[in-house]
Amino acid sequence: MNTKMVFYITGKIISTVAILMLLPITVSFIYSETTSLLCFSAVAISAFILGGVLSLVCKSGNTNIYAREGFIIVVMAWLSVSVIGALPFVVSREIPSFVDAFFETVSGFTTTGASILDNVELLSKSMLFWRSFTHFIGGMGVLVFVMAIIPSVSDRSIHILRAEMPGPTVDKIVPRAKDTAKILYLIYIGMTLAQIALLYFGGMPLFDSIVHSFGTAGTGGFGIKSTSVAGYSTYSKWVIGIFMVLFGINFNLFYLLLIKRSKSAFKSTELWTYLGIVTISVIAICANIYSVYGNLSATLTDSFFQVSSIISTTGYSTTDFNTWPTLSKTILLILMVIGACGGSTAGGIKVSRIVLSFKILARKIKTLSHPRAVSTVKIDGKNVDEDTISSVCIYTMIYAICVIAIFLLLSFEKTDIETNLSATLACFNNIGPGLGQVGPLSSYSGYSAFSKIVLSFAMLMGRLEIFPIIVFFAPRSWKKGR
């Protein structure tokens, strides 16, 4: 394995995060929060030096990276970024325990939005900003960002892109990986700016608009109020709701729209299935909770907001859905597992994998009754090769195994099964709030340090789609000559 290259890129990433800390530093300067200013500056400077030294020491002529290096680099990057991102919280004593701060930062970078803070409003503005900014960075991917800005590291950087981007297949939209990363980021930033503008001109304070837009863009869900977005106007709720759905769509489709190939964009099966699931869920929940609300517009707003928040794996809330009837809660749990489209910033299994799984299932049933039948699985009018099919099946299987394992590890806690199951799903699928004691109005502070670490890794696994973490911890990856 090319260890030098792994550490070289990790170093670059650490420096990049240090530079990105200039933003919260600016915020602390604006709001004249001296302690945070000092903490952020200290962490940023030491991280910049650490990253610089690391990439300088490990610079080597051999820039070849293969699939394995791609996986390892991604996990190394995410772990180091999470540790460094947690330091400002610890140093400033705003979240004194390192495990708590680590959980919070992992939750931020993986765009989960699960918090251990019972009272968010106590945090300083710059810390709140940093928390939400980690969503923004983590949404499109730390490495994708680094790839977009630093000169081409290696011809084979597709391995990094592939390990970090969610979805069953990763396609480039333009020939160069670097340009692909750039275009994706430009779309991402453009949409975020649009949302900030819409919220700001709709009457939300500028700071709140920026922070909520970051949370939406990364499909993260860190709010700055204990009641999440419940306190804002209906207009703001709809803007956030609609943007959550948009950020759950495959970004390649936006690119196709931009280059005026809308025909192929609107042909996407995944897009229509995704929108279909959203519509049906909203209608079902509306019907289910109408009797509780008795008011159509409030019912519609709340059910649409919750559905778009959960399916896009964001995790904002406008109401305590813990009090909803069982049917609605079950629908939300199912949406947690499904997640949004591949190639978006969302988590979950991804709609494309679900669609494929059903098509594979249909084909299997067909071949059961017609053993000699030759049939292919098609999506968007194209044949899906057997490799992708088997990897979809394997992914779903390993997904189930992980859910069971995490669920089991959490069962040492005193919390009830509903809480543990929803905590597992909410963290593993990068949503944030679950049901029961981890509902939208409560936090994960009740869990022990052990469970918090388990859940942190669950979030990382969910964000990186399991395999990189497994490869990283598999002993054979580190052995020489393999």
């Binding site: 293969y66 699939a67 081409s152 011809d155 084979r156 950087s157 597709i158 391995h159 396609d171 480039k172 939209i173 333009v174 020939p175 160069r176 990986a177 670097k178 340009d179 280059i259 192929s264 090769d385 490799d387």
Partner: protein
């Protein structure tokens, strides 16, 4: 520049490698998704799965934003059709590989196809390879010869033998020893390439590239190494397309050619097409057959079967039988680089030749504003480039003695052609408008003649 390459065979593969290294944005089209998968793993390119002549596939490759379309699939007809459709879809430059002798033999028909399909280039790798082999057979002491301006100027690569006059001499001493006008441009020692200065001391085992006035090349070679006569009597193993073109040229210039082929039908075809060649039906990898057919007495042995391994092994056998010149065709570039360590004389990689042609074409398009690039060769196993430019009025540094020109490092002006005269430049020579200038550079990318000046 955006370039679309249709077909990921051996040629497509090296094209992708060279064109991405040149900094172009490459989109690859192929029918086989497995091949595309491995291509995306190695190169930074975008892949589209489908037929090269399929409208939808070309649209998906976003053909309208591309400048060059290269069709190098296995089928000539598909290449032509794909180029035709690409042209109709608005792409400006189309390049097709057309290798079948039926389309190539008759110059008139070839030109007709090229014109009617509006092709920018029609490439025949076998013919190019045969031409290159022919050049080497004319001057067997050389490992490789690149010609400029239709043979008016040559860059010759040779390997220094231990008994050579050059072994252990510095270049400035050499000037005193040899009265002939020549210039050693590049030296390759092990993995490193150098542009030598006067103090550079040559050693046995170095590969050097030099230029000399064409009339003095033979005399010079006689002095610096054992001169081998022009090969008159050539044995070719494998009646491939390359072999056919080579034999045809050799026979036309009065040499005797013997072709060994193990396929009976192919033997018949070739003997019909080339009545003056001796065609032997038999297995070229059989020692007895080779000895019986007089491998020990031929001037040159060329192995051109479709199997790289067989070519390499039989060439090694030929070398052991003291055949003066042995040339082997190795198609896979990975294998070609592995054979560097073996003591094989000359290795020809046909697809590399095509890649040079297309890279040159793309570069010439990029610098259409500056001095026109006429020729580009990768020499020294791809470590250095030899380029020919026509000096336009836009070039600022005319009429300045070369010793006063501030050249970038690792660049040498190795020749100037003025009208019919070729000049081996010394410090007092100058570049004039309308000259043709030959530049050799290592480790850099030169698009325009002005790029060589600091």
């Amino acid at each position: 520049m955006k370039i679309i390459i249709a077909g990921c065979g051996k040629v497509g593969d090296i094209l992708i490698k060279d064109l991405t290294a040149e900094g172009h944005n490459v989109v690859v089209i192929d029918k086989d998704s497995n091949v595309l998968q491995s291509i995306t793993n190695i190169y930074d390119v975008m892949c589209v799965c489908g037929s090269a002549a399929d409208y939808d596939t070309l649209i998906e490759a976003d053909i309208k934003t591309a400048q060059i379309f290269v069709a190098v699939t296995g089928s000539d007809e598909l290449n032509m059709l794909a180029c035709f459709i690409a042209k109709k879809l608005g792409i400006e430059h189309t390049i097709a590989r057309i290798r079948n002798p039926e389309y190539n033999d008759n110059g008139e028909g070839y030109n007709f196809i090229k014109q009617q399909l509006n092709l920018s280039l029609a490439i025949n790798p076998e013919r190019l390879a045969a031409h290159e082999i022919y050049n080497i057979l004319k001057l067997p002491s050389a490992l490789n010869i690149e010609t400029f301006s239709n043979g008016k100027f040559e860059v010759i690569e040779i390997k220094l033998k231990p008994d050579s006059l050059l072994d252990g001499t510095s270049l400035s001493e050499l000037r005193k020893k040899l009265p002939e006008k020549f210039l050693i441009c590049v030296v390759k020692r092990g993995e490193e390439t150098y542009i030598p200065d006067g103090n550079f001391v040559l050693k046995a085992g170095d590969i050097i590239a030099f230029t000399a006035e064409p009339s003095q090349v033979q005399r010079l070679l006689k002095k610096i190494s054992k001169l081998q006569k022009q090969a008159r009597n050539v044995m070719i193993m494998g009646a491939s397309k390359t072999a056919y073109y080579l034999a045809k040229t050799l026979i036309a210039s009065g040499n005797s050619v013997k072709i060994i082929e193990r396929n009976k039908e192919r033997c018949l075809e070739v003997s019909k097409a080339l009545p003056n060649a001796t065609v032997i039906f038999g297995d070229g990898s059989e020692r007895e057959l080779l000895l019986e057919e007089g491998i020990t007495s031929v001037d040159a042995f060329v192995s051109l079967t479709g199997m790289d391994e067989e070519n390499i092994l039989v060439s090694m056998f030929a070398s052991s039988q003291n055949v003066p010149k042995v040339i082997s065709k190795v198609n896979r570039s990975g294998l070609a680089s592995m054979t560097e360590k073996l003591d094989l004389d000359t290795i020809i990689t046909p697809k590399k030749i095509i890649s040079d042609v297309i890279v040159r074409y793309a570069r010439a398009l990029q610098n259409s504003a500056g001095s026109k690039m006429e020729t580009l060769y990768k020499i020294m196993g791809g470590k250095a480039e030899a380029l020919e430019f026509i000096v336009e009025d836009t070039f600022k540094s005319v009429n300045i003695p070369l010793k006063d020109l501030k050249l970038k490092p690792n660049i040498i002006i190795s020749g100037i052609l003025r009208g019919r005269k070729s000049i081996i430049p010394s410090g007092d020579d100058v570049i004039l408008p309308n000259d043709r200038v030959i530049v050799i550079a290592t480790g850099q990318h030169i698009d325009d003649l002005s790029d060589i000046i600091k």
